[in-house]
């Protein structure tokens, strides 16, 4: 074992982020409005520091799982990879909306600090190896998100969205906690590794006490489904995405998805693999419903934030397909492939979502929210480059090659077919077809329609470059998807 390492080493990135976040909170108090860029730069530097520390931790542990805090906290390959993706997503959520926030008087220290603490919550969730750690991270993230949604205090829409989010989120956390307590009652442990052993033991020894486990599982899956945002626990998503300031929507739709994916892996795959035969059918229902309702409801939307919200639901449903194809009849031989396809899907989805919501943020000006689909009319005439980037993002979301969204779908479909679930794959592609309709409608609006206004779009240089990188990444990862796929596979094999 890695006994010669400092005892808290696996948690160094989190400790650093916590310290830096507190420091920024204090420093920002002494900054004048004109010097707000200092907080911005410090936040980005903090994320960079976290990235360096994460790499250092991974190198120091050699990619092997390393635990600390009495085994409540683990740093393994999956955690490292997901954290790195989270840093990228969070950094983008700082860069994209600078102008947007400044125009609305939201460009204040609170935004940076809340975003950083939410990121901390995600990291704790990603690295949790104990139910309590997981819950702690989840709550830290969620509370930051609730307040971020309400960041624009004077907007009734935002306040309403925050209230909805909070009430439903608290309910979901309660469900999750209740489920965990049942599992604890059955297995006598909250530690994920112990839970897995205990559950396997119970299933072998005595089928009758399985009922408690199954009962707890139902609550856990419900809580999880709420956090991931899949039907029928999806009702908050369109309202929150719509009501929150676009900058916050951008944030909610990206990093937390990675954390939710990690939570699903920790709870279902690490803690309760013995119950796979029970949670797989649940996920099938959640997934099919999400793809159906998400895609069908998205067609009817005229607000692009709502449309993308429903598209999120359908994408998360698709991602669950990869998760549920791992175990086939108790056999986990091809499970890493299936789970890594889900992880690849989640990472790719976050990249696409960053770009799409980033575009919504960039097109908004002071006093004007570019949130109706009509606001994209004739974008090709106003800014051919931005329109082209959005085109790549939309085709990627639709899963049309040669963009990376296609490979994400391909990998998941391959996992589903590999598990022998042909009908599930057919359902998935049919709803992917439905999904294509509303994505190409955005392309249609941008390219085929005449612009309503002729003002050219000039984003800040840094945001413009980031969006170009983001859009071109769709193409670059689409032409060469191997590295990212391989990283995901290694990450899943590494726990």
């Amino acid at each position: 074992m890695l006994t010669n390492l400092p005892i808290m080493l696996p948690a160094y990135p989190e400790i650093f982020l916590l310290a830096a976040g507190c420091a920024i909170l204090v420093i920002d108090l002494f900054l004048k409005d004109g010097a707000r860029w200092v907080s911005y730069a410090l936040s980005l530097a903090t994320l960079l520091g976290c990235a360096i520390l994460t790499v250092a931790v991974t190198v120091a542990t050699g990619g092997q799982p390393a635990t600390t805090f009495n085994g409540m906290f683990v740093s393994d390959m999956m955690a490292s990879v997901l954290k790195m993706c989270t840093y990228v997503a969070v950094a983008a959520c700082l860069v994209y909306p600078r102008t947007y926030l400044a125009d609305r008087g939201l460009y204040r220290g609170e935004y940076f600090v809340l975003v950083l603490f939410a990121a901390l919550g995600m990291m704790v969730m990603i690295s949790a190896s104990h139910f309590l750690t997981l819950y702690l991270g989840l709550e830290l993230m969620s509370l930051c998100l609730y307040s971020l949604v309400a960041l624009d205090r004077d907007s009734a829409l935002s306040t309403e969205a925050a209230m909805k989010y909070f009430v439903l989120g608290a309910l979901a956390s309660g469900l999750l906690l209740y489920g965990m307590s049942m599992i604890y009652g059955a297995t006598g442990s909250l530690h994920i590794g112990e839970v897995a052993k205990g559950a396997a033991r119970i299933l072998q020894a005595d089928q009758s006490s399985k009922a408690v486990l199954a009962f707890g599982l139902v609550f856990i899956v419900s809580g999880l489904a709420f956090k991931v945002g899949v039907v029928p626990f999806h009702m908050w998503i369109p309202d929150v995405y719509h009501g929150a300031p676009s900058a916050v929507t951008l944030f909610i739709s990206t990093g937390p998805k990675l954390a939710a994916f990690a939570m699903a892996i920790r709870l279902l795959v690490n803690a309760l693999p013995a119950l796979a035969a029970d949670w797989q059918p649940m996920l099938v229902i959640l997934s099919v419903l999400s793809m159906a309702i998400g895609n069908l409801a998205a067609i009817a939307q005229s607000n692009i934030k709502r449309m993308l919200a429903y598209s999120t639901i359908s994408h998360m449903g698709f991602m669950l397909l990869g998760l549920l194809s791992g175990v086939v009849g108790g056999n986990t031989l091809s499970a890493p492939e299936a789970w890594s396809s889900a992880m690849f899907y989640a990472v790719v989805y976050v990249l696409m979502s960053l770009g799409a919501f980033g575009m919504v943020v960039l097109l908004s000006r002071s006093g004007f929210e570019a949130e109706r689909i009509e606001d994209f009319k004739g974008l090709n005439a106003r800014s051919p480059w931005l329109a082209f980037m959005m085109l790549l993002l939309m085709f990627s979301l639709a899963g049309v090659p040669p963009t990376v969204g296609f490979y994400a779908k391909l990998a998941v479909l391959q996992a589903v077919l590999g598990a022998g679930q042909v009908w599930l794959a057919v359902v998935a592609v049919l709803f992917a077809l439905v999904g294509a309709f509303y994505y190409i409608r955005v392309v249609k609006v941008m390219y085929f329609d005449e612009p309503v206004e002729s003002a050219p779009v000039r984003p800040r240089l840094d945001a413009g470059i980031l969006l170009s990188v983001n859009g071109l990444a769709m193409l670059a990862l689409g032409i060469l998807p191997q590295p990212l796929m391989q990283v995901c596979l290694q990450a899943i094999k590494g726990f």
Binding site: N380, P384, L391, F395, V400, P401, P402, F406, Y407, L410, A411, L413, Q414, L417, G418, V422, A425, V426, V429, L430, A432, L433, A436, F437, I440, R441, V443, K444, Y447, F448, L480, P481, Q482, M485, Q486, L489
Partner: protein, 491 residues
């Protein structure tokens, strides 16, 4: 490792297209020049493929193989046989003509227009050359993006409807094909190599399901009755160049898919379902021929005529003899020339009159004699007059059908009557007679650019009609190999 001519034929047009896109409308002259240059170089690099092609073998030639996505065992695997090499040549050739044809006619977003066609040309070459199923799928699907934009941006009044319909129809088919590929991947123990699939044994019921999945993809592209309804819309609304590429090349993807995937991978299902395929083909030939007769819009008429002619191609494939197969292939190439030429002819008139309605014309020969003469040739080729390319393919398919079943040949033969009827009747109403109205009287004859494009196509049509041997010799070995594959059961 030999010189990567195939990669060049794929990537030269794509890179040229991206440069044109970057140059943009602000540097219009340069952008156009690069577009033309890219198209010509793109065509030039396909000539070594034909010149260096060894006709005696059915093996894949100019093979390029490099690992692409080892995680799923996907490879960058290109290669051509006697069938695909001809389509690469045809495609690159038509691209040059389309760029020239759009030279002055397109007024808005010219650079994007040219770029879309160049990128599409490269992607289509990739589709014909790909020997890896996913690589094929990527190219096959990626062509949707530029075509969607071409129809939607530069198309006619109802372009949005047509573009969306085109996109969704084709996507539906190809998604099912993707599932079929994934199934074969799992079945073959983790390979996406198309040539491996040719040897893979499969039970009949699986073959039938896979055949139907492929059929969904390819039938929509061909298009076969009853999934043809996107084509008249897309054709009519697309700009001239779009219609020409759509008819000349994109439709060939479907038929090519039958040859590369359905027939050799699923021979038993092909035999089992041949009756269905022949019936659908005959319906396309006869029924769609009749539908073409009543069209009042020239482009729509040619679009329906395309469906009818492609029915001949699928008929030729599913009667399983050398005449039918080679006849179908010759018909594909011939239709590539003739339909492109006819759409370009309509384009020449449309640019002057801004109408596609047959009723708006009459007596065009009086004002545009040289144009009328060239169009006469293409109209004749469309009805299958001997000495034009249209005759060779149709004659061979009917000959093959005769060997297969007398009555099928009789029904197929009706196309000679219907084809002549709708083409010549349209030609008569548009070109002959008294000058119809003042607009026609004001027409000017085709300019040198238009004459060049149509003249080159006329030479191609006559060459293929009078001396098809160079084309059939190249495809001969591959066709025989395909028939051998078809004769061996995989059960």
């Amino acid at each position: 490792m030999q010189f990567p001519w195939l990669s060049l034929s794929v990537w030269v047009p794509i890179v040229a297209g991206l440069i044109v896109l970057a140059a943009g409308d602000r540097n219009l002259r340069e952008a156009k020049a690069i577009a033309l240059l890219g198209a010509i170089i793109g065509f030039a690099v396909t000539i070594p493929l034909v010149a260096g092609f060894q006709a005696g073998t059915s093996a894949m030639q100019f093979v390029e193989l490099a690992p692409w996505v080892p995680r799923f065992n996907m490879n960058y695997h290109l290669g051509v046989d006697g069938i695909s090499v001809l389509f690469i040549l045809l495609n690159s050739f038509i691209t040059v003509l389309v760029v020239i044809a759009g030279w002055e006619v397109i007024k808005e977003k010219v650079a994007q227009y040219m770029a879309a066609f160049l990128v599409m040309s490269g992607l289509l070459n990739g589709t014909f050359a790909a020997l890896d199923a996913v690589l094929f799928y990527v190219f096959f699907e990626a062509t949707l993006i530029p075509m969607y934009l071409v129809i939607g941006v530069w198309g006619g009044p109802n372009r949005v409807y047509a573009a969306v319909k085109f996109f969704l129809y084709t996507l539906l088919g190809s998604l099912l094909m993707l599932l079929a590929f994934l199934y074969l991947y799992n079945k073959s123990g983790g390979s996406f190599a198309v040539l491996d699939y040719h040897k893979l044994p499969l039970p009949l019921n699986v073959q039938i399901v896979l055949f139907i999945a492929f059929l969904m993809a390819f039938a929509v592209k061909v298009p076969m009755w009853p999934v043809h309804t996107w084509l008249p819309d897309a054709h009519v609304e697309a700009p001239t160049g779009g219609s020409a590429v759509l008819a000349a090349i994109l439709l060939k993807l479907g038929a090519y898919g039958f040859i590369r995937f359905s027939l050799p991978i699923l021979p038993d299902a092909s035999h089992y379902l041949a009756g269905l395929m022949i019936t659908l083909s005959l319906i396309a030939i006869a029924y769609i021929g009749l539908v073409a007769l009543v069209q009042t819009d020239m482009k729509k008429l040619i679009a329906y005529s395309s469906i009818s002619h492609m029915g001949f191609v699928t008929l030729g494939f599913f009667i399983f003899n050398a005449y039918g197969m080679e006849g179908g292939l010759v018909q594909m190439i011939s239709h590539g020339f003739v339909s492109a030429a006819l759409f370009l002819c309509v384009g020449v008139m449309y640019d002057r009159m801004h109408s596609r309605n047959i009723a708006d014309y009459g007596g065009v020969v009086n004002t545009m004699p040289r144009f009328a003469a060239l169009m006469m040739l293409f109209a004749m080729a469309n009805c299958g007059l001997p000495a034009t390319s249209g005759f060779v393919g149709e004659f061979m398919v009917i000959l093959g059908a005769m060997k297969f079943n007398f009555w099928i040949a009789v029904i197929a033969g009706t196309t000679l009557v219907f084809g002549a009827a709708y083409t010549l009747w349209m030609y008569k109403r548009v070109i002959f007679g008294e000058v119809g109205n003042a607009h026609v009287a004001a027409l000017t004859d085709a300019n040198s650019r238009e004459l060049l494009v149509l003249g080159v196509l006329a030479v191609a049509v006559l060459w293929l009609g009078l001396h098809p041997a160079p084309f059939t010799e190249i495809m001969h070995a591959s066709v025989n190999d395909l028939l051998r594959h078809l004769a061996v059961s995989k059960l």
